[in-house]
Amino acid sequence: MNFGQAFVDGIRAGLGVPAAAYALGAIGLNVQYGYTGLLNFGQVGFLLIGAYGTAVSADAGASLLVAVLVGILASIGLALLLGIPTLRLRADYLAIVTIAASEILRVGVSARQLEGLTGGAFGISGFGDEFFDLNPFSIGRYGIGELSFDERTLWIASVAWVLVALATVGVWLLTRSPYGRLLKSIREDEDAARSLGKNAFSVKLQSLMIGGVLGGLGGIVIAVDASFTNADYWRSQITFFLYVVLILGGVASVLGPVLGSMIFWFVFQASDSILRQAVDNGAFGDVFTTTDVGPIRLGVVGLTLMLLSIFRPQGILGNRAEALVDEH
């Protein structure tokens, strides 16, 4: 068994583009769920709408910058569409509507009737060229030995991690301001906030939009990286991976989602590598084959989430005292 290989695979994934994209999505979720207490169970819908907003408009001939702006605006639009009817109601309505909307979007964009716009089941490709034409890195591999990226990955990963850094600083600035206090008051008790003259509906809508835009950026990063997107990728499990990332790193901590995403992708990829080697070496005999590795990986994710909830509810960077305060 080559653990060194698994380690390198894990590190590469932890620093890779999907890790950065998940970090963005989880930072968004942290604003919504961690600070404001909004149960958004359809964050993947915001990633999708960001990705498709960008892909569709780039495909229609818009420059990439304009296309990215369209993706961001589409995320804001989705937040308004989902938030306005539900945020005056009890918290569970948002949860129901977001998870339903994310599924509707996934199925919707693959509809044959929309083939002209979204490419239907085939999706859209080739819209990332403009981004990679700007690549300042010359052809080659960057890094140490096995632990290296090609110039293409290095370019998109750099941009993605810069976005993560900006988002993190933004959230950090917000959470230490009166605005952060306002968000938390909604999480703790919306009626108390309203009784003190705070427009809870407006604050929740803003929070949904901020988190939605960050999710949209995550989706844009994933789509541009692949220079391709189709409906099949944006499954609900991404939303739940983002929750795992957030809870792992620490709900309502500024750096939690970033560290959570890195560790999530490290464990996800390293366990994949180890499992595949074990299957190849016949360690599982006939019990498991290579095709079982994917589902087992998901089992590992679920187990991690359970163990975290039991033994470390505050995650890695969260505040234990805060996590254990009685709500009432």
């Binding site: 600035l173 008051s185 703790e188 906030a193 009784s195 003190l196 003259g197």
Partner: protein
Amino acid sequence: MSTSASAPRTAATDATATVLLEARGVRRSFGGLAAVDVDEFTVFEHEIVALIGPNGAGKTTFFNLLTGFERADEGEWSFAGTRLTGKSAYRIARAGMVRTFQIPKALARMSVLDNMKLAATHQSGERVGIALVRPLWHGQDREVEARALDLLDWIGLADKRDDYAGTLSGGQRKLIELGRALMTEPRLIMLDEPTAGVNPALTEQLLDRIRGLRDRGLTVLFVEHDMDVVSSISDRVVCMAQGAVIASGTPREVVTDDAVIDAYLGRQHGEQQ
């Protein structure tokens, strides 16, 4: 019975006294039950008014209607000359009419100090764009903090400033709700059972603070069950039963009122008077 017509001659009801809160024909029913059916209800500036009545009389529902936490079926009310009918809760609070809750709503995973600071009004740092740039809100935040610390001192929770509000006792939560409401600098403060579940020592402190509110220029409307508390601090008592106002007057007048004795206090209490 008209509450204003029968109001006693206290400082608050002199000819010079101004009407602060005035409600007419406020009704709300749940199914076939008329939970609130108040023809007329008035609070004058600088009064301390107690709202009493048996359980289920509609006191809390009336509070909820007036403060926008529940919708009235009909009726109109105005505060300091501004019509508040149908306004949402946060707008009513911004108008200067701030309520607390029967079961205190401490913001558990926020510090005591942050609970207080949150309540300050017109904070520019509560807008996203401004919040990102600390120098734009920091000065105001320091003023807010100074005021919050003063009030914490006044309610006796200064040494708890950095604790999570969720770690406070029930009585301390009542106090922080009072302090938080005061941070909004209201003209009328509406307290829903401020002493319920509060231990006797703390009750004394709380009552003392409520009395002190008038000296700060506030008007107080509070729901209370303990008649000793009612008699000791209120200028005027309004009694509700089955959704309607059945009596209004000085504490002495109300406790000897036949309708109040029948509906709420019981015969024996009346005979002792």
